[in-house]
């Protein structure tokens, strides 16, 4: 069986979904959080997942890089089965970058060191090369001059941009954003969204769990609405926000728009 694995990964071509989620079920104890979720993401797509709290959005995202395991169904990234028990999760996590709601920077490392740690330790890349890339990434997220600042000295928005740069330093093929603006002051939300938009425009495959409906509408190629562990409705933003059919979607959109 293990011999099939490289073949499966090698067989993946960009015309097939880069992230393929098929009938995923997940329970925490007796609480079923995901009740058969399926969705496909093509390379370069920007997908937004919206929905009320507790609908399983974040859990779904965390299943994609195997931070959470699943009970049933299948998730593949570039053709590789994520929940194959024989899979080295570290290999998967090089392909899939993740940014969290609470930034989760390493508080004992400067902004630059935060970005450099994983490429040096995990990818074993030479320090000089990694540092050059880290400085370019800092500039890219508009934080030049903050290289030597500790996370505690940065605002929430700045920390979140360092966290994005930290993920990008691993050269991932897919970026997952888990409510990355939810903990930010309203005035710093924008600077983070600008960074994400630039990434999306460069063709990075992005999956976002978000409450920023305006942003989702503007940036997403496809929007999924989840409620109580299932995808209720999905579609391109142009039609999703105006032509929602399901009463649950309508109710949710009515509350927040």
């Amino acid at each position: 069986m293990p011999a099939d694995r490289p073949t499966a990964a090698a067989a993946w071509t960009p015309d097939r979904p880069i992230v393929h989620i098929d009938d995923v079920h997940k329970s925490f104890g007796s609480v079923e959080v995901l009740k058969g979720v399926s969705l496909d993401v093509m390379k370069g797509d920007v997908v937004c997942i919206i929905g009320p709290s507790g609908s399983g959005k974040s859990t779904l995202l965390r299943c994609i890089n195997a931070l959470v395991d699943i009970q049933r169904g299948s998730i593949t990234v570039e053709g590789q089965e994520v929940h194959d028990p024989g899979l080295d999760k570290r290999l998967l996590r090089r392909k899939v970058g993740m940014v969290f709601q609470q930034y989760n920077l390493f508080p004992h490392k400067t902004a630059l060191q935060n970005i450099m740690m994983a490429p040096i330790k995990v990818l074993k890349q030479p320090r000089g090369e990694v540092e050059d890339r880290a400085r370019r990434l800092i500039a890219k997220v508009r934080l030049s001059g903050k290289e030597d600042a500790y996370p505690g000295e940065l605002s929430g928005g700045q920390q979140q941009r360092v966290a994005i740069a930290r993920s990008l330093a691993m050269n991932p093929d897919v970026m997952l954003f888990d409510e990355v603006t939810a903990a930010l002051d309203p005035e710093t939300v924008k600077e983070v969204l600008v960074t994400i938009r630039e990434l999306a425009e460069e063709g990075m495959t992005c999956m976002l769990v978000t409450h920023e409906m305006g942003f989702a509408r503007e940036i997403a190629d496809h929007i999924y609405f989840t409620d109580r562990g299932v995808i209720v409705e999905h579609g391109p933003p142009a039609t999703f926000f105006t032509e929602a059919k399901d009463p649950r979607t309508k109710e949710f959109l009515g509350q927040i728009l």
């Binding site: 996590r93 989760n104 920077l105 508080p107 004992h108 740690m117 994983a118 995990v122 996370p151 000295e153």
Partner: protein, 254 residues
């Protein structure tokens, strides 16, 4: 030097306060040897006990049950028994088992003689390190448990291995959190080195005892001992405080 010696000799004649460790060359040498041994014993045990703490705390977080169990047995055993009993156990209980046989020639005859493999100093290092290490395991565990799960998760999501996460993220943060408790235990360790007296390690207390037995200056030596320990522990505490300040992070744990 001679002037100082003469002054303290005169001081003894005038006041009856007998500080042989200053004016008598033999007592001074014994005393300095004691200071040296206490400092050496403290430093070696300090380093060993911290290493034991790091390894033990790592074992406590192992996914394998038997590894966790092993760490737990160690902590319970060494934390819940008196350090003097441990010292005796190692020196008198285990010591006789660790011997080498050497051949000794006396005239025409050859004798086989058993020699101890480890000196009392070695046994003191082993015993005191394990004693303080057991507390360090628990101290580090408290620090490790205080590291936010989300920070570890972020490192996990970056593809770092458990060992990389432990060494680069968890330990540096846990250290900062548990430094005050660690300080306490290390201060205790320095003071506990006096127990090595009981197995005749020539440390400060042991040498002082030799001196006051010979020179009959018990009260003087008691005062000297007390002040010397205040000084020794003071150096350690100052060093640790400096370290604590140097490790302080802007916006973390405040």
């Amino acid at each position: 030097m001679e002037a100082i010696e003469a002054w303290f000799l005169a001081f003894y004649r005038d006041t009856g306060i007998n500080l042989t460790i200053i004016y008598d060359g033999f007592d001074r040498a014994r005393f300095l040897e004691g200071v040296g041994n206490t400092v050496l014993l403290s430093m070696v045990c300090l380093v060993c006990s911290v290493l034991i703490g790091i390894v033990g705390a790592w074992m406590q977080g192992s996914p394998r049950a038997w590894v966790r169990w092993l760490a737990q047995v160690y902590v319970q055993f060494f934390r819940n028994t008196p350090p003097l009993v441990q010292l005796y156990f190692f020196f008198f209980g285990l010591g006789p088992l660790f011997v080498i046989t050497v051949e000794q020639q006396v005239g025409q005859m050859t004798f086989a003689r058993e020699m101890p493999l480890l000196t009392s100093f070695h046994w003191a290092v082993i015993s005191l390190s394990l004693f303080a290490g057991a507390f360090n395991v628990e101290i580090f565990r408290s620090g490790i448990e205080a590291v936010p799960r989300a920070t570890v998760e972020a490192a996990d999501a970056l593809g770092m291995s458990r060992l990389q996460i432990y060494g680069n993220v968890v330990l540096p943060l846990a250290f900062r959190i548990c430094l005050p408790a660690l300080n306490n235990n290390l201060v205790n360790l320095v003071k506990t080195t006096t127990l090595a007296y009981a197995i005749a390690v020539p440390e400060l207390l042991y040498q002082s005892n030799q001196i006051w037995s010979d020179s009959v200056n018990v009260p003087e030596m008691m005062v000297v001992l007390l002040f010397l320990y205040v000084g020794l522990v003071g150096v350690l505490v100052t060093g640790m405080q400096r370290w604590e300040r140097a490790m302080r992070l802007p916006g973390f744990g405040q």
